[in-house]
């Protein structure tokens, strides 16, 4: 990429080497991200990628942060999601509040945190404690969780959790939490909408990693797999499609790292990700349906990323951005 410098390329190689050396993707999906992996991620400065150096973070620029998200996502999207939750969701939730004091422990991996980005409505009661159940929390083993219940609230653990089997981002624990916990309102307004809108490029970087990982698997397989006496790479329809997808991958990388327009980039990423992950599974035939080949995880995580982060609300934001006005719809 012409807009990436030598330092960026070194960082990319560093993340790749880290993944190959330290991470076992199948084991992590089965046993979840543990303290050991957290510590490893922290020791290299990945966990606190965007956190200020005064809190022990790496204080990286956007390009470096996106390289980290892309490369981890390409290897195992769960790791990228973990880093994203800390740097794109938790950090802006607590910034300029007294809870910045948590950031040193967060960036060093000593404190596991979460942000609820899935729920729009809560049925919680607030007194000295907050009471009620919150469904669909990713990273349920967190020590504190940020909720956006019309305001921005930090709830202190430990939490009574009920884990659920979840097909997406399997390296993170997922489920519901039953609250009877201490809480503090850190902003009387909900920071969610702004945080989510500001994270478009970060999510696009995760999407790019999924796309890149899926295409890599499919292209590599097409080079070694023979069917009807010829390599898959010798079949026009398949290779035309893979080449088209590879072009999309590189267009996405180009617009992301040139910081073209976060709305266009996010829209392009979300409209490409599922189709590409799905076709990469198809390329593997029956083998693609089994986790051993490591491609079906991209399809699972792709649909979750799109389903959770992209819908009518995001399309409205895109349209408002393009029309330069807040549109009203019938």
């Amino acid at each position: 990429m012409s807009n990436l410098n030598e330092e960026n390329n070194i960082l990319r190689d560093t993340v790749r080497e880290f993944c190959e050396k330290n991470l076992d993707e199948k084991k992590i999906e089965e046993e979840k991200i543990d303290n050991n992996i957290n510590s490893l991620l922290a020791s290299q400065g990945f966990l606190g990628a965007k956190i200020s150096s005064k809190y022990g973070g790496s204080e990286l620029d956007d390009i470096s942060y996106h390289i980290i998200l892309e490369e981890f996502s390409k290897y195992l999207p769960s790791i990228a999601m973990k880093i994203f939750m800390i740097n794109s969701l938790y950090l802006p939730s607590v910034i300029n509040t007294e809870y910045e004091s948590y950031l040193p422990d967060v960036s060093s991996g000593k404190m596991n945190v979460s942000v609820d980005f899935m729920n729009n409505k809560y049925k919680l009661e607030y007194s000295n404690n907050v009471n009620g159940t919150v469904e669909n929390i990713l990273n349920t083993d967190a020590e504190n969780i940020v909720l956006f219940d019309g305001k921005t609230t930090i709830v202190e653990g430990p939490f009574k959790t009920r884990e659920k089997d979840f097909m997406g981002f399997k390296g993170l624990k997922f489920g519901s939490i039953e609250l009877n916990n201490k809480y503090n309102v850190i902003d009387k307004n909900s920071r969610k909408e702004k945080i989510m809108e500001n994270s478009y490029n970060d999510l696009s970087a995760i999407a790019l990693g999924i796309i890149s990982g899926a295409i890599d698997k499919a292209m590599n397989y097409s080079r070694v797999r023979t069917v009807f006496g010829a390599y898959l790479k010798n079949y026009e329809p398949l290779v035309f499609k893979l080449s088209e997808m590879y072009s999309k991958e590189n267009i996405l990388r180009s617009i992301l790292y040139s910081n073209l327009d976060k709305y266009y980039t996010f829209n392009f990423a979300m409209n490409s990700i599922v189709e590409i992950a799905r076709f990469s599974v198809n390329t593997h035939g029956g083998y693609g349906y089994f986790k051993d080949f490591g491609v079906e995880k991209f399809y699972r995580d792709a649909i979750i990323l799109k389903s959770v982060f992209y819908g009518n609300n995001e399309l409205k934001q895109l349209s408002n951005h393009i029309y330069s006005e807040k549109l009203t719809f019938i």
């Binding site: 899935m118 729920n119 729009n120 669909n136 659920k164 089997d165 979840f166 097909m167 997406g168 997922f174 023979t226 069917v227 009807f228 006496g229 079949y235 329809p237 398949l238 599922v274 799905r278 599974v281 198809n282 035939g285 029956g286 693609g288 349906y289 089994f290 986790k291 051993d292 079906e296 399809y299 699972r300 649909i303 979750i304 799109k306 389903s307 959770v308 992209y310 819908g311 009518n312 399309l315 719809f329 019938i330």
Partner: protein, 359 residues
């Protein structure tokens, strides 16, 4: 089409809704366990009628609409039966009664690791030795492989210039020495179904285990695919309808009325209707013993892609509500519809070849 079976369809749906609860479906999906008790129960209430193909199609569609993992599990213990029905000897046809009664589970061993859809190039051999055949080789992704009592197996009995010549089908007891099944786990979906890798090590088969004529195996299997692909289209149709059920329930419960979502459900409904017409049309020719392979492949490919499309739309429209197991399971189940019994790409080859042949 098939309106005369409306009552039967209703009966099947009631059975599915009663037995395939979310808890049961989740349990067998998570555990990757075959629900044998449901196979037996489905037989006891007579929901499978192997003597009436229209009823088979309807039961597959309606059960997969409720849950494809369980639906396929209870409708595939007979997998491969049509090969025996069409080409088997009297004893083999008689044996089918024990399959239909539930005494035995059947499976079909065609696919090999070296080439999923490439049937003509299989490497498993059945070498004639006196009045015996000695079976050696392996099979991959075999449905019912580790639970079947018998398997219809395709093997090479002679080397010919054309690879699809020299193949033969056999009825194999899985109790024979030299048979080994390794259950495969870690599937994305349809995890209640049993899938295995098989190895055959010097298995002695008798000449009466041969199905039909020696060297005709390829044609028998292609004839079987003309039937089984209709049933896979029915599986896919059921999955698509099940996904659409979830979409409608969600939209109604949450009183969603925005136009974008309305357009999306219109697209899903249209595709399902088209898949249904194609599937039922292809089935109607088959059931008159006038199969149209290109129509069958169109139905299988289009219904498979519709299942995937509808399940992805269910995930997207439901958003965070799609994370419930009973929705994401539909998504995971759907993907196999574009893969097994001939990938969509293979179906497209069949379609174009038949069209250009003018058939």
């Amino acid at each position: 089409m098939f309106e005369e079976y409306d009552d039967y369809r209703k009966q099947i749906r009631e059975f599915g809704l009663k037995e395939f609860t979310d808890e049961v479906a989740a349990k067998y999906d998570r555990g990757e366990e075959y629900p044998d008790y449901l196979r037996k129960k489905s037989l006891s209430v007579g929901i499978i009628d192997m003597h009436n193909p229209a009823k088979i199609l309807i039961s597959i569609e309606e059960l997969c609409r409720v849950d494809a993992g369980l639906g396929i599990s209870v409708t595939t213990p007979y997998f491969g039966a049509e090969v025996l029905m069409l080409f088997g000897n009297d004893k083999q046809k008689e044996f089918l009664n024990d399959v239909y009664s539930g005494k035995y589970v059947l499976g079909l061993g065609v696919t090999e690791a070296s080439g999923g859809s490439d049937v003509a190039h299989i490497k498993t051999t059945a070498t004639k030795k006196g009045d015996k055949y000695i079976l050696n080789g392996s099979k991959m992704f075999i449905t019912n492989g580790a639970i079947a009592d018998y398997l219809v197996v395709l093997a090479r009995t002679s080397d010919e210039d054309k690879p699809h010549h020299g193949l033969s089908t056999f009825l194999l007891s899985t109790k024979l020495n030299g048979f080994k099944a390794n259950k495969l786990t870690g599937k994305l979906g349809v995890r209640a179904t049993n899938t295995a890798e098989l190895t055959f090590n010097n298995i002695e088969l008798n000449s009466e285990d041969l199905i039909g004529e020696e060297g005709k195996g390829f044609y028998y299997i292609m004839a079987f695919f003309n039937i089984s692909r209709i049933y896979v289209a029915a599986q896919a149709l059921g999955i698509a309808e099940g996904a659409f059920d979830k979409i409608q329930d969600y939209i109604k419960a949450n009183e969603i009325k925005d136009e974008n979502t309305m357009f999306e459900i219109a697209d899903v409904a249209t595709r399902i209707e088209a898949a249904k017409e194609l599937t039922y049309n292809a089935a109607s020719y088959l059931f008159k013993f006038e199969p149209r392979p290109q129509l069958t492949s169109m139905a299988k490919a289009y219904a498979g892609e519709t299942a995937v499309y509808a399940s992805e739309k269910a995930m997207e429209i439901l958003g965070t509500n799609s994370l419930e197991e009973n929705v994401e399971r539909i998504f995971r189940n759907a993907k196999i519809m574009e893969i097994w019994e001939g990938t969509s790409e293979v179906e497209k080859l069949v379609i174009s070849r038949f069209i250009l042949k003018g058939e």
